[in-house]
Each structure stands twice: as C-alpha cells, then as structure tokens.
C-alpha cells in the first residue's frame, strides 16, 4: 500500500530559524509511516493556512494565539533535547490518529 501523506506546519517566530531546525526532525520521526511535507510559517499566518485546508497538524516553538481546528504540538523540546522523547511520542500519536482516519 502506498504511504499516505501528511502536511505539517512548523511554526516559529521567524517562520524560518527554529522551524527549519525541526523540519528534518519531523521527516525523521514520521518518514517511515507517511510522506511528510513540512511548511515553515509565522504564528500569525497559521490560522489562514489551516482554514485553507489540507493541513494535518502543527508543531510550534511559539505560542499560537488563534484558535485553530487541527492538533498543535509544542516543539521546543526537539531543540533542547529535554522532554524530547515525550514530544516525539506525542507527534507520532497525533500523526497515527490522523493517518487512521485518512
């Protein structure tokens, strides 16, 4: 069976620096279960992006003020290494639930 696709928003204050850092990490974590597309973004652009559709979930290093309809995982642990295993487990769980419904 072909791998399903996941589109993940990687959000940080610059839309580039820490989102780029976690981009590869997301591919490493989820690459075996899905084709992962990661989009780096600013927190203020998230709502518009999610409303446009096709976004499965969000990993962020900045607080997101807007209410959005997809799961949001805090990703700073991926940068620091502290709580990283729990963070990876949460990302996997969120991804598995989404993939199960696709």
């Amino acid at each position: 069976m072909a791998k399903k696709s996941l589109t993940v928003l990687a959000v940080c204050g610059s839309g580039v620096v820490s989102s780029s850092m976690i981009e590869q990490k997301l591919t490493d974590i989820l690459g075996s279960v899905a084709n992962v597309k990661v989009i780096g973004l600013l927190p203020t652009s998230v709502k518009t992006y999610v409303e446009r559709g096709d976004i499965d979930f969000v990993v962020t290093t900045s607080p997101i003020v807007d209410k959005i309809d997809v799961p949001v995982v805090k990703g700073v642990a991926l940068l620091t290494g502290f709580g990283e295993d729990e963070c990876i487990a949460e990302i996997k769980q969120v991804a598995e639930e989404i993939l199960a419904n696709k």
Binding site: C12, G13, S14, V16, V17, S18, S20, M21, I22, E23, Q24, K25, P43, T60, T61, S62, P63, K74, G75, V76, L78, L79, T80, G81, F82, E84
Partner: protein
C-alpha cells in the same frame, strides 16, 4: 556544509553583563562593525526577543537571538559567553525565564539556504561535551576553530 563560518571578530568570551540587552548589543555591534548587518539590526533583535523570545533550556542554557533578514547585509553568526548567567525568556513559553550561559546572535540573509546548517545547529545544542567546551572556552581563536569544526 558550513555556510555560516564562525569568525574571531564576531566572538566575545566572558562578557560581564547584567542583562540580555548588554550581551545582544555587544554581539550586534560586532556584526555591525564587520558590515554583516544594518544599523537597525540590534533594535530589531531586541524587539523580536520581546515578542518571540529565544532562550532555550538546553543542557547548558542559551539564547539564539535573531531577526528578519531585511536588517541583514550578509549571513553571519556572533557568539558570546558570559561571566554570570543572563535572563532570557524561554522560546515558546515566554512566562518562563532561562538563565543563559551563552548567546548566539544569528544574522541570516537567505534563511532558506541555511536550512542544513540550522539543522546541524540543533544537534550541536544537545551535545553536552560541545556545549561545555564552548561555554568554558577562554581563547577566542581556539573556540572559533572548534566551532567551525563541529559545524563542518
């Protein structure tokens, strides 16, 4: 692989500073003096730090200050250690304080081109041996050589 080289002129070890503004100013001034950033850089790094803080509770706490590329002429990275830890707010959880022992001020012109380098940086952050080596460094040229090796 290293797109952004560390440079002796952009490193200051054992900065005596009471607050993050002082550290960011010293490192931003170095970037300015070497022509890597515009006059507006320092002010905008500070401004951004207020909205999107960059303190990281890594094994040895640090901050990775940066701002929009419009304030940058060409990509560079400045690095500093402090004689006593300086308070930064934590990335993602601004109500928490991180007592940073080292500070990177990152000036990126075309951040998308630096993705592999930024990803490398993330692995460096988690390496206790590397972090303690650079935190304890006393010789600028040695630490620059070391940083360029670990980022290569």
């Amino acid at each position: 692989m290293s797109f952004v080289e560390f440079n002796e002129k952009l490193v200051e070890l054992r900065i005596k500073a009471e607050d993050k503004e002082t550290v960011i100013k010293i490192l931003s001034d170095k970037l300015l003096a070497e022509g890597f950033v515009k006059d507006s850089f320092f002010e905008n790094v500070l401004k951004r730090e207020e909205v999107f803080p960059t303190g990281l509770p890594t094994i040895i706490p640090m901050a990775i200050c940066h701002t929009e590329s419009e304030h940058v002429h060409s990509s560079a990275i400045a690095f500093g250690t402090v004689t006593s830890p300086v308070a930064f707010q934590e990335m993602g959880t601004p109500e928490r304080t991180v007592m940073a022992e080292m500070v990177f001020v990152i000036a990126l012109k075309n951040p998308k081109d630096q993705v592999p380098w930024l990803q490398k940086m993330m692995t460096v952050f988690k390496d206790e041996e590397i972090l303690s080596t650079i935190r304890n460094a006393t010789d600028v040229s040695e630490v620059v050589r070391y940083l360029n090796e670990v980022f290569d």
